[in-house]
């Protein structure tokens, strides 16, 4: 039982940590290229929050794996060992696509953290508490942007429809409860996968109704990023991210 619990905690830390790391990486690509200085700065703040959270989750995962460091996990695993959702590794596209992807992730992230703060495992509850403060703001900010662009000009509405077509096929993966999420039901009091999913749908429907976007049922079965099955994009992200530690294995930086 104890062993199973530890395995679930490790899995959870890797899913949360890898999602934060890879999404943070994508957002950091915007730095210096945003549509206006104020928003360049805003998005970098979110990237910093996410990479900060990734460090906490991966440090914890490393501890559970017998003393690996955050950098061991970030820089020395290959694609099949990463547990992030496929959605967060997809390319940024235009500002509207980045923000729609962000919103859909934030809605999930927020619902998850609200439950994870209840965990008896103090490490996990602690990271969740710290993250939740940040993600409260992320969700508010990305919701506002999705509404603003969805209900802005004709051009922006059309761009959001395109973004929806790009991103929506990836959301199913966030909503499957038959895999790792279900394990959590057993050891986090008050955690039920169903509630997370219901909360996600509620948030998304509220925002989408103001942004003039549909929320159609989606096919999701073949998206299994959290099990290490990724798109082609992740390999390129890792090639870039891990280049230095891989090229100079003896060096510390």
């Amino acid at each position: 039982m104890e062993q199973e619990k530890q395995k679930a905690a490790l899995n959870l830390s890797l899913v949360m940590g890898d999602n934060a790391l890879i999404l943070g990486h994508r957002l950091s690509e915007w730095c210096g290229h945003g549509p206006i200085l104020e928003q360049d700065i805003a998005l970098s703040n979110i990237a910093l929050d996410l990479i900060g959270q990734a460090r906490l989750w991966l440090s914890h995962a490393g501890k559970l794996q017998g003393g690996k460091s955050e950098d061991d996990l970030a820089y020395h695993r290959d694609v099949f060992d990463f547990h992030n959702f496929q959605m967060v590794e997809t390319p940024n596209g235009h500002w509207g696509k980045t923000l729609l992807r962000q919103f859909l992730y934030d809605a999930w992230h927020h619902a998850m953290l609200q439950k994870l703060v209840l965990a008896q495992d103090e490490d996990i509850a602690g990271i969740a508490r710290k993250s939740l403060k940040e993600v409260n703001y992320h969700l508010r900010w990305s919701s506002e942007w999705v509404i603003r662009l969805g209900d802005g000009t004709e051009e922006s509405a059309a761009k959001m429809q395109d973004a929806y077509a790009d991103v929506w096929p990836y959301v199913g993966e966030l909503l499957q409860k038959d895999f790792w999420l279900k394990e959590l039901d057993q050891w986090i009091p008050g955690f039920t996968a169903d509630e997370i999913l219901a909360q996600w749908w509620k948030t998304v429907r509220e925002v989408f109704s103001q942004a003039n976007l549909p929320a159609e049922p989606m096919d999701w079965l073949y998206r299994k990023g959290h099990l290490g099955h990724h798109t082609e994009h992740l390999g390129f992200i890792l090639a870039e991210m891990q280049f230095l530690p891989r090229a100079y294995p003896d060096a510390t930086w």
Partner: protein, 95 residues
Amino acid sequence: MSNQNWPLFEVFIRSKNGLSHKHVGSLHAADAAMAIENARDVYCRRNEGVSIWVVPSTQIVASDPEDAEALYEPAKDKIYRHPTFYTVPDEVGHM
């Protein structure tokens, strides 16, 4: 493109409760709600504040420097408004 320029807002930050809001600079935002968030992201990256005011820059009414003489000079010789104008016997101590 018709209108891409966001209006300018002046930003005032209260650094901690007990102090007044202080002007820290300005920024652009599409509306007041966004200006508050932008101010949070731009001017509070290092724990600088606990409260933010934003005001559209066009709404600030300022005195004219040309009027400086009329506005501020007359106050200069009203020394009887200051405590040091009055003498209190040493024996009484601080008052």
